[in-house]
Symmetry: C2
Subunit: 470 residues, 2 copies
């Protein structure tokens, strides 16, 4: 045991001197990065434009194409080594005319309900759909109720997000199957439509859209699906307790078109030492159409652009090639992320690190990493450098949807983790607008990302370094 | 050195086993506390009432007295062992009719300016005050300029808060002397009035009030002082660059009245083991009058009330007497805090711990402590218990203004530290309203406070325990 103790002590002392060595020059560099973001950042003005001059950027829409042009122009202005568009075919689904819904407790006695079509849903019949409602707390309830009780009815999925989860993304994960697969599953029991409680922890009047799937359900069996606001869901639920045979009406005219051409937007600062090794930062340029996609994921896009802007402003020349990638079509297809990874593989581009910001422009708390122990240990050794900026969260976990397709046994994947308490107040809803984003919180996120990219670039990933030694 | 190493190791192992022992029962208890706050919390509905049914609660106002009555009633309903009002005389300053100000670049050519009187300021002459403006970046500039350049003018203090400070309270601390002492100092150089850039990191149109002092300036030499919004300050500054002899007009009718009777509101759960040892949690019930005092400090009040509500709901019987104290008159006098401490001393009440929440109802990050090393070490040993709730900030530093007068060499003082990025967007301004507070963020703060009070109560402070052993 004594030997072990000494070994541990030497390791400890080694780590301390390493940390101290790291600290001097790196802490100065991080301070400069944060200062540049807070004093000379461009992320907030870019987000203003994306939100207020362009707006919601649904894949295949005119707004999405405007956003491609705008962000490319802005990257061009930064004086990067390369800026280009990567073509990718994306799905085109349109919402149609504004949705309309009501609860009818007796003929002519109705109250309006705030709903929106789920992304990918079919339309209702032209005159709308009216039927009795059966409330469930999840897909698993369908089998218990059976075809007899569901046939001909609208299934109302009303399991709320669990407020006791501190990480609101966990609460989201515990409910989102209702939205994603609820219609497909309810159709198997003869349901004629689906209304889903919005994925929102707050009680308010905004319906929240989001992607859904019909799987391999034949077209004729596909039933329309909408989301209802949390207040609306509570109202419907209480009305059903009093009058179980009430009827719900909704009308939506959404439509799927053939795929259309779109683009990932990419900018690069070519590395001085390892030009053929790539580190990427990114977010997704598409958004849902109800709001302006300011948090989801305008924020992640402008923060990723800011990483390169800060490097340019500081005159920092990275050893690796650093790319910003603004992915198209994360929300309803992931075509951009898939395309980027396919092409990287085809061209045998060696991607060593990828960081995504897609959890809102709130105060950054840290990162989650999808990597092995050796890399994670190296990253954890950088924690003290982030302490002055109140960045404390360095955990293993998921990274980001768009960079997921790059995953292999060499690349380090990471996701920025901002404070998540308010995220689902805005997520996929009409109120995801520029005024909900705080300038400082957005900029601190960009600085935190830049700092991690700087450290990754300077020290390299452990995987990369072990390959170089061989 | 070897001996030292072994001693340290044993200490380390001891700490580990202590932490593990703590962990089992305490982690369960903390989970229950957070669940109770998030599922059965009352803080949000209390804050709704304080904000929307009562509003701004300036000391000596009708609203302040309504708030005293309302919070006492609510505490009465909790079934505490004692609830009472502690009388305290408070200053009464009124804003008068809405302020009015403009910038005049030529006779008849004016633009409106958004200003508000600073708390405690005298009125302008009845017809308002119009004079040339001299811009400075701080009090220290006055001596450099000298009486010659200042005499007969309005001094415009325009040093902005430093955006590179991560802790926004530090940026506030770097500017607030302009607001607090600016008029007193400018009067010495013959200035006729003062306009101060609002203490706000954001560029917007809200003027932010706050306390100021004339010190021992004779009444006839007191000059009126107002705050101008950050956008207004930038506009005035740029206009002055083009036309240094422009004139600034402002009119305010504020007035000081004789002191009036008010109250601290106090509730207590009497301790089972140490009924004569007190642990207090509190915030201040008064606020400025422009907004509804929702973040400052309605949030701190309802979070403090929630601590006792949670204990009652859980059936937890504390060993020490736990008091909630809603202090009157923090903003312009600190009379409530001073009174509470005076009376505690008079009655020889042994206060062992005091925790204040007065930094907004934002996501909690941790606490700062005003205490000695022994107590701080014990508190740091509890850090792992808070990790699941993303509470990571345990540092020495200030605590809270209201509990400051209790300071002695035995009491442990602490302040809740929420995320500070948005605080000064609302501080002392018209937009400090209920809608700026997020329910979950508020409740998480209350749960975090309750958790610390629970641990303090269970283990006692180090100072207290060392006294008991003797």
């Amino acid at each position: 045991m004594r030997t072990l103790i000494f070994v541990n002590l030497f390791l400890l002392l080694g780590a301390v001197s390493y940390a101290q060595k790291v600290n001097k020059e790196d802490s100065t560099m991080l301070r400069k990065i944060y200062d540049t973001a807070l004093l000379e950042g461009k992320s907030y003005q870019w987000l203003d434009y994306l939100s207020n001059n362009i707006g919601g950027r649904l894949s295949g829409s005119l707004e999405a194409e405007k956003a491609v042009q705008y962000t490319k122009e802005q990257l061009d202005k930064l004086g990067l080594d390369k800026v280009w568009l990567q073509p990718v075919m994306v799905p085109k689904w349109t919402r149609g005319i504004p949705e309309y819904a009501y609860i009818e407790t007796a003929p002519g006695i109705t109250s309006l309900a705030n709903v929106c079509a789920l992304g990918g849903s079919v339309a209702t019949p032209e005159g709308g759909l009216k039927a009795q409602v059966i409330e469930v707390k999840g897909i698993e309830d369908l089998a218990t109720l059976g075809k007899e009780k569901i046939q001909g009815k609208i299934v109302f999925y009303n399991r709320p997000m669990d407020p006791t989860q501190i990480a609101t993304f966990s609460a989201y994960g515990g409910c989102v199957d209702q939205r994603y697969a609820g219609a497909m599953e309810a159709a198997k029991f003869g349901a004629v439509g689906v209304v889903v409680r919005s994925m929102n922890l707050r009680k308010d009047d905004f319906p929240h859209t989001g992607s859904m799937t019909y799987g391999d359900t034949p077209e004729k069996n596909r039933i329309p699906a909408c989301a209802i606001s949390t207040n609306g869901a509570d109202y419907l639920s209480s009305a059903l307790r009093i009058q179980p045979d009430l009827k719900f009406f909704f009308k939506q005219t959404c439509k799927v078109y053939p795929d259309v051409q779109s683009y990932n937007v990419i900018g690069e600062i070519t590395g001085t030492e390892f030009p053929n090794k790539y580190m990427i930062v990114g977010g997704h340029l598409d958004s849902w159409d109800l709001g302006d996609g300011s948090h989801d994921d305008g924020a992640g896009c402008v923060q990723s652009m800011e990483v390169l802007q800060i490097f340019k402003k500081m005159g920092y020349k990275p050893r690796h090639s650093i790319r910003v990638v603004l992915f198209m079509n994360e929300e309803n297809g992931l075509r951009g992320g898939t395309k980027y990874a396919e092409e990287a593989k085809l061209k045998q581009e060696d991607h060593v690190f990828a960081l995504e910001s897609d959890a809102g422009g709130f105060t950054p708390r840290g990162f989650s990493f999808d990597t092995d122990d050796a890399n994670f240990t190296q990253i954890k050794s950088w924690e003290p450098l982030f302490k002055p900026y109140l960045i404390h969260y360095f955990e293993k976990g998921g990274s980001g949807a768009d960079i997921g397709p790059l995953k292999n046994d060499k690349i380090v994947l990471a996701g920025l983790r901002p404070d998540s308490q308010r995220y689902f107040d805005y997520h996929h809803a009409e109120n995801d607008t520029f005024d909900a984003v705080n300038k400082r919180e957005l900029e601190l996120g960009a600085a935190t990302m830049t700092s991690l990219v700087y450290l990754m670039d300077k020290y390299g990933t452990k995987t990369e370094m072990s390959t170089l030694k061989k």
